[in-house]
Symmetry: C2
Subunit: 259 residues, 2 copies
């Protein structure tokens, strides 16, 4: 038998804001896969990962992550490019790693497209914030010890006066905290959370390249996770999980077939 | 061209904890779709939705949502059933709506399987917490006005003394709040958030059956969203979004092709 699906046929002059998921091609959605296979142009950066990008033909792809001298293409230029291509009548996929609307700037792209009268569709994806912990045996919520989960970006310096992330509130909220893009600033925010009153014994884990073949995991507590990171040699991209759920891995990993 | 994927071949004696995504069959992952098509048995409730469930052949499906006299099958019975089927050498898909590890009790099932020596795999999915707002034009994070997002369950009564969700901390954290399963208790937690210091003018939205053909949306503010819910007649299952991002819908909806 087959589960039927008749969508995913790209329309000319339309932009598709598509997330690739965490990197495993099996975690692309059926719709994202069809759009990628059929759209006239795909604008992407490096985060969808080598397995997904490797199958896309170069002649339909524009790498908007790369730029001369190691710079990244500015968001304003990407926005303009999307409008130009749609105005030429092309069907355009804007492909991001993870989900476009979870720290992926998809919201800004949607606003720009609407301002310029370009029809667009949002294609939600598996977010790495949930999937990277999951495949390492860590559920971000748990009936017994996590009735909320917060996703934050670790790009920002938590010692900055005007830090947009309220680490004190997160420290007291009692749920799981998942930090995306938080490898480098790990020492700063584990300190901020302890200063905010979080127990230093709170379990913590880092999952690098979750769902990729190169996946690596480091575990510890709020107090020891920086050392664990350095010992395993965790590098970006990685997801940090802080909360009692992070200890779940230990009790299930022996029978977990994802790794 | 085609994006290659060689996984998704179910192994005998293994349980697959699979999320269906928010309901649109196009938002199943490639891996979930293959496993559903090929597994010996699929245990599911109603939440994956009629479009996905309708394509699965009855003889391979066990509905563990239903039970005599309108009761639900207890979790302990589902756990035991999973172990039994795996011990018989069957390949078993445990299918949940959304993602199994976001308020889906997948963590408990994983623990039970590991305790009983049953090999299992986690297949992450598109969570409705992100996807339902997204297809209604609402990004749960935004560079300009939301550097964090918290998912909470609305099943619990926020006026309960021992409520596991800290609404006061959420009210001050400053990020987006997404409440799952929170249609009925909406009046209680919008009050709790205002008592916690959240501006009554904070934008809010409800998305019922996001990505389904029957999708419905109600918008307002913390102060008006209960009336908006009643006016549109929003019913479960629905997702509530609270935060500045909820106002984004208005500026993009004219060009949004998802609806």
């Amino acid at each position: 038998m087959e589960i039927e699906y008749h969508g995913g046929e790209p329309e000319p002059g339309t932009v598709y804001l598509v997330g690739s998921g965490p990197g495993d091609p099996g975690l692309l959605t059926v719709k994202a896969k069809r759009l990628l296979e059929r759209a006239d142009v795909v604008l992407h950066d490096k985060l969808p990962g080598p397995e997904i990008l490797g199958d896309l033909p170069d002649e339909r792809c524009i790498d908007v992550g790369k730029r001369a001298h190691g710079d990244r293409t500015p968001q304003s230029e990407i926005n303009e490019r999307l409008v130009e291509l749609a105005d030429e009548g092309k069907s355009v996929v804007r492909l991001k790693g993870g989900d476009s609307f979870v720290f992926g700037r998809g919201g800004e792209e949607a606003e720009y497209l609407a301002e310029h009268g370009v029809p667009f569709e949002v294609v939600p994806a598996v977010t790495s914030a949930v999937a990277a912990p999951a495949v390492a045996g860590i559920p971000v919520t748990h009936r017994d010890h996590a009735s909320s989960v917060s996703f934050v970006t670790g790009h920002e310096d938590p010692t900055k006066e005007d830090s947009a992330v309220d680490w004190d509130a997160l420290a007291t909220a009692g749920g799981t905290i998942v930090v995306l893009m938080g490898v480098t600033r790990l020492p700063q925010y584990v300190t901020a959370l302890q200063e905010g009153g979080m127990d230093p014994e709170t379990p913590a884990a880092l999952v690098e390249r979750g769902t990729w073949q190169e996946q690596r995991v480091a575990t510890g507590t709020l107090e020891t996770i920086v050392d664990a990171r350095d010992e395993v040699g965790i590098e970006p991209p990685a997801v940090t999980v802080i909360g009692d759920v992070a200890a779940s891995r230990e009790s299930v990993v022996e029978f977990l077939e994802n790794e």
